[in-house]
Every structure is written in C-alpha cells, then in structure tokens.
C-alpha cells in the first residue's frame, strides 16, 4: 500500500462543495481520504509524504474536454503518450480527444486502441470522443452502440460540421439510446468557404480570404433549434463570436439543454495576432475582433459559457512554416490554459471558484464522468496551482511534441506545479520557484 500523501497548508477551492479557504488534503489509496479546514491535529504527519502547498491552490483535477491527440495516424504531431504528458504538465488529469485521427475514431477498434495507449502512458484519463458519422464524412451515422460499448464518452465530427441537418437530427435522436452527448463543430461551410482568417479589414489588408462570424452563428442557431426540437442536450464546441454567446444565452434562458465551451485563445487574442502572416495564429474558428473577445469574456463571467477547453491541436513545423493559406489550422494549448485563465482571474472577470468550475466541475458534469470535486472518497485527481508563479513560455520547455503556439516567449503568470492522478504524481514542476 502506497504511503498517504498530504497536501499541506494550501487554499482549497472546491466549488462543487462550496469550499474556498485554507486547509489540507489527505490522499490514501488513490482516493481523497479527508479534507481539513483549519488545523491538522488529527493527522499524523510522520506517516505521510507531505507536499507543502503554501501559497498554492488545491483544486480538483483539471479536465480539458477538447483536445487532439493525433494518434492513430499523425504520430509525428502528437501521440496519446506525448499529449497526455503535456496535459499533466498543464495541470490536467483528464482529456477528451477528438475523433479526427487517421483512420477516424468511428469504430470500436480505434476507440479501444486510444484507451489502451492512454492506460499504458498513465498520465491522464482519456475520454475518446467518437465520430457522429461514418468516417466523419457527414453521410451516414457511425455505430453509436458499438462505440459506447468500447468506451466512447461523447460524439462529434470535430474538425468539420455535420452539414446535413437531417443527419444531425437523426444523430441527436439516436444518441439518446446510448445516452451519448453530441459535441458540435458548428460551421456553415458554404459561408466559411476557403477562408483563412476572420473576415474584415485585417483580412482585406493582408489579402487573405475571410471567414465571416455568421458561418459559426448560423450553424449554432441550427444546432440549437434541432436540440430544442428533439429535446436532447447538445454541446457547442469552441465558440468565438459575440452573436454565438448571445444565441446560447437566449437558448439557456428558454431552458434549452445546451452547453458551450470556448478556448483560451478566443478570450486572450484577437485577429490582430495574425500580424504579418503569423501561422501560429491560424485556427478554425479564427481569432475574431476585440468586441468578440470581450463578449467571450462576458459569457465566461455570466455562466453562458460552461467550459474552457483548449482545442489543443498539435502541428509539426512543416505544417506551419508554409504560406498562410496552406498552413494547418490550430494551436497547442494544454500547457498555457491555466496561466491564460488565471489572467481572467487577475482581471477580476472570473473568480477562482468560477475558473475551477469552467476547467473541472463543468466538463465532468457535461461529459458525465467522475471528478470535479474534492469530496472525501472521490478519486484523488488533484491539481496544485501556483497563481503567482511567473515564467516565460519557451519552446524548449514545451512538453507537447509540437510547438505551434502563438504564446511562445510570452511571460505568463500562474502555473500548475503538481498534478496528481488517482493519488499518483504525474507532473511535478521541474523548476520550483
């Protein structure tokens, strides 16, 4: 039996149990043994491995419900092992990985393969999101029952939308049989066309084809209308515009079973980051206007947006060091999510407890998986965050196999310093302050 692990003198932030205050957390046999507010009389410290959590937050393990692990098929960009190692380094104890692998995760074999690789790696829980449609090509439904049985946690054709509204309707209906959540990549392809950045004056100045905000909003409207009609939950991935936030706010106001996520780059950056054809700022949906960024922050603040997910999208140098039109979409995000979210806390846009809801409580609830609380008896997935730690995000320190981040060389504040998965330390800051 492993030695008990004591996290001592930290700030416990556990919004699921309405706790935010100084205290200690004891882990034994992979489970949370006890949460102690105040003094430590009842614990015999000598028998424990002790981690000094002074000045640090003790929070339920962070969960990123939107990542791309690239395996099988594009192991030169990322593997389940390298991606979950990066997740642990970013403070995550669980990730949900999208099915746009090669082959797509539209069958039992791929789902099982991902789960096996995740178990071998041991850095994080991995929840495979399987395809909505066969080959994720939008023509016919994938075998939801088989996928659920193999361990799929949700369904999505992420990377592209389900363009056919009838197929999306049928997917919403049929997913009810297996209680699988649909995650929608909402994009009207006829409007986004072959655009490569947000439509507007910046794109015009650079001579780049624009992706209008309405390409996202029109499809979100369709997805919300379908979900409301069928009365089935839907989760909208990576929202980036003001109108998207408004649509979801209105739908929630009517009691629709909708949830939504955004990514740190949408509340941190704007289209100006494209600058002089910087392909590290190319993603889909694209970085939007200042007003859109503000609206995303408002949505995070008022509860319209439920989740911060990174859309971690690793790409190798040769995928990005090309003409802007030809560069791959997406950026890595696992190792920068905590500091970028903490910037919102410092700006008093969200509270620390709200940040933990967005990054742990809500993704667990939406995916229907364990985690998201510090309740005694729960699986000991714990993240220790140092909110004051200042560091420069340098390429050589990036744990992910790919380095495609617009935040390279940024000075960031706040960092996950210890990540604990089922009582075992999966990441420990190599350079403690």
């Amino acid at each position: 039996m492993a030695q008990p692990l004591l996290l001592k003198n930290g700030r416990l932030i556990d919004p699921a149990n309405n706790i935010d205050g100084p205290g200690h957390l004891l882990i034994e046999d992979g489970r949370i043994k006890g949460v102690y507010l105040g003094d430590l009389d009842t614990i015999s410290e000598e028998t424990c491995q002790v981690i000094d959590a002074k000045g640090k937050w003790i929070v339920p393990g962070l969960v990123d419900m939107h990542v791309h692990l690239r395996e099988p098929g594009q192991e030169y960009k990322e593997t389940v092992e390298s991606g979950t190692r990066a997740a642990a380094a970013g403070g995550f104890t669980a990730v949900a990985c999208m099915p746009n692998t090669s082959p797509a995760n539209d069958n039992e074999a791929v789902t099982s393969f991902i789960l096996t690789k995740a178990k071998e790696a041991g850095f994080a829980k991995v929840y495979p999101v399987a395809s909505i449609s066969h080959h994720s090509d939008g023509t016919r439904l994938a075998e939801f029952g088989e996928l659920k049985k193999a361990g799929a946690a949700a369904l999505s054709d992420d990377g592209r939308p389900v363009e056919n509204s009838q197929l999306m309707r049928r997917a919403l209906e049929y997913s009810a049989n297996y209680d699988l959540l649909l995650i929608s990549h909402s994009e009207e392809m006829a409007l986004s066309g072959n655009g490569v950045m947000n439509e507007g004056a910046f794109a015009t100045r650079l001579g780049l084809r624009g992706i209008p905000s309405i390409a996202e909003e029109i499809m979100i409207y369709r997805d919300l209308a379908l979900a409301e009609y069928i009365k089935r939950p839907i989760h909208i991935a990576h929202i980036s515009t003001r109108e998207s936030v408004d649509l979801i706010r209105r739908a929630k106001g009517k009691g629709s079973p909708v949830t939504a996520e955004t990514a740190p780059h949408y509340f941190t950056l704007t289209e100006e980051a494209v600058g002089d054809y910087n392909t590290a700022a190319k993603m889909n949906p694209p970085l939007r206007s200042k007003d859109d960024r503000l609206a995303i922050q408002e949505g995070l603040q008022d509860g319209t947006i439920d989740v911060i997910a990174t859309d971690h999208a690793p790409h190798a140098r040769q995928d990005k060091e090309v003409e802007f039109d030809l560069a791959a979409n997406g950026i890595i995000g696992l190792e920068t999510s905590v500091p970028l979210a903490l910037a919102l806390v410092r700006d008093e846009i969200i509270t620390p407890a709200r940040m933990i809801e967005l990054m742990s409580v809500n993704p667990c609830r939406i995916l229907g998986v364990e985690g998201g609380s510090l309740s005694p008896g729960a699986c000991a997935d714990i993240t220790l965050i140092d909110p004051h730690r200042v560091f420069t995000y340098e390429e050589k320190a990036v744990v992910s196999k790919s380095k495609n981040s617009p935040f390279l060389n940024w000075s960031l504040q706040g960092k996950a310093v210890t990540t604990i998965l089922a009582g075992r330390i999966t990441y420990s800051d190599p350079d403690p302050a």
Binding site: A203, T204, L206, Y277, E323, D325
Partner: protein, 312 residues
C-alpha cells in the same frame, strides 16, 4: 543622382511599408531612369555583377518581362524560374526552394506567388532582397508605383486628384497597392463595382466606397478599370460578363461624367469590351501603354534602390 533620400528598405513587399518620401524618391528616380530606355544603347552598368532571379509561380508576361528588361538594362545577370519547371511541382516547400536559391547567393529574388504573404515568407528565409511581383490578393507594389508614375506624368501632381477604381477590388492586388499608394500621396480614391467584389473593410486602406459607378467617376481625374478574372467565375460573384459589361464596364457615358482631361488606365491583361469599351482603350484618354513603358523605369528604380543606389 541629385535625389537626396535615404532609402532604407531591403525588401519591396508592398506599398504599405513606404513613407510618402520613399514613394516620391522612387518616382523621381524612375523618371530619370526612363531616359535610358530611349537611348540607342539601352544599357548602364549600375548593377553589373549582380544576380537577379525571377521566381514566378503564376503565369505572367508583362510583369516578368518588364522586370527582366529592367534588370538587363542595368547590366544585372538575370535568371528565370517558372512554376512549370520548378521543384514546387515536385512537392518542395516554398521555404526549401528559397533556401536552395539562397545557397546560390543571388542579390535579388523577384517573386510572384498565388498566396498572399509568400514574398514575406521568402524574405524571412533568405539573405537576398525580395521584390514582390504580386502575391495573392495582397499587393503588387511595382504595378502600384508605375500607376502613380503614369498619373504623375500626365497630371503633374498626385495630391488632390480624384482616382476612381472600378471593378473587382476584392481579388485585385493592383487595386490594393493603388489604394494605399494614391492615398499616401494625398490623392483621394473612390472605388465601385459589384458589391460582391468590394471587400469588407476596404475603407481602412484609404478608399471611399461609392454605391454607384456614376458617383465614383464623377469629377474623376483618373478612371482605372480592373480586370474581371474570368477564371473566378465558378464563384457566384457576378451573374455574367455580359451583365458586368453593361452595368460596370467603362464607356463613353461614364467618361463624360469625369473631368474633361481624365485619363483611363488598366493594369492588364484586358478583356476588351468587358471592363472597358474597346475604342476607349485605344482612344486619346487611354494611357495604358504609358503604364507599360513606365513599368520598366519603375522596376529599374526599385532594383537600383534596394541595391543601395540611394547613396550614389
């Protein structure tokens, strides 16, 4: 050369990078180079021993030849690489092509490319000076400058003029460079055309968007018709060339709305009878062939300037 101006640009990526003084210097410099092309022996030794590579990934007759003529008249050694013979056809990336060319130590690489920003990418990965000969729908700086020179020669000034640019603004790198260039030099630029071909935010480059072609050309000193790119007709941007010619083509009625001494320009290649009535293209208001002549002079000035000619 009498012109005293410190020209400090290593690359020519777009008119956006230039100050009005830079543009003024290049126009005056080109005016003096123009004389060389009228001599019996059309050659000066200014760039002797310099290596210039023409790297064209898109078909071009006028621009490529114009750069080659300009470089040869200045005694540079010129080499042409065209897309059909290049390694890009074999899957090489632009950066690798650039690095391989750079390993041969050229002084200047002149690039035309279908993707906006490609010349800048080349500039980041080679030591040579890069001249953008047209990139995607971004800029075509040498064309912009030769248009400025043509107007300057005909009107004696640029400040205070009204320039009307009509047609496919969205896909025209020429329009972008002209809007930027004329605005910097104090002219006002009015644009008009089918609304599907007017890009969002074009006002922020300095253009005034007019709801009708009539409004754009009224009182204009210059009318510039842009090429309708027939290869783009897959996109449902205009219903037909016939309708375009009827409602947006420059004709005698529109010309009559402009100033009596207005000049007509077209960057070429022209679809006769579509953007511009055929007889207007050949008529007394047309300066289309002046544009071509000035193209050689402008490109001589650009080559000279980036090789440090401003100090001479």
């Amino acid at each position: 050369m009498e012109v005293a101006h410190k020209f400090s640009h290593k690359h020519i990526l777009g008119l956006e990078q230039f100050s009005p003084d830079d543009i003024d210097f290049l126009l005056r410099s080109a005016a003096s180079f123009k004389e060389i092309s009228t001599r019996q022996i059309k050659k000066v030794p200014a760039l002797r021993g310099r290596t210039v590579i023409n790297l064209f990934f898109e078909p071009s007759t006028r621009t490529r030849l114009s750069f080659e003529v300009a470089a040869k008249r200045m005694s540079a050694d010129t080499f042409n690489v065209s897309a059909s013979t290049s390694s890009l056809k074999k899957g090489e990336t632009l950066i690798d092509t650039a690095r391989n060319l750079a390993a041969m130590n050229p002084d200047i690489i002149i690039i035309r490319h279908a993707h906006s920003g490609a010349p800048g990418l080349l500039a980041q990965h080679t030591n040579a000076s890069i001249i953008n000969a047209g990139d995607g729908t971004h800029e075509h700086p040498s064309q912009g400058l030769l248009d400025l020179l043509t107007v300057l020669e005909n009107k004696g000034r640029l400040a205070g003029l009204k320039i009307a640019i009509i047609g496919d603004i969205a896909h025209s790198r020429v329009a972008h460079s002209n809007i930027i260039g004329f605005s910097k030099m104090g002219a006002s630029v009015s644009v008009s055309g089918p609304a599907t071909l007017l890009p969002m935010g074009i006002e922020q480059l300095g253009a005034t968007v007019c709801a009708s072609v009539d409004e754009a050309v009224t009182g204009a000193d210059v009318i510039m018709a842009l090429r309708i790119q027939t290869e783009r007709q897959k996109d449902p941007l205009i219903p037909s060339l016939r309708e375009y010619a009827t409602f947006f083509g420059i004709n005698r009625r529109l010309l009559a709305l402009a100033k009596p001494d207005a000049i007509i320009m077209h960057p070429g290649p022209m679809n006769r009878g579509v953007e511009l009535d055929s007889d207007l293209a050949d008529g007394s208001h047309s300066v289309i062939l002046d544009q071509v002549t000035n193209g050689v002079a402008i490109r001589m000035a650009l080559l000279y300037a980036i090789m440090g000619g401003s100090e001479g």
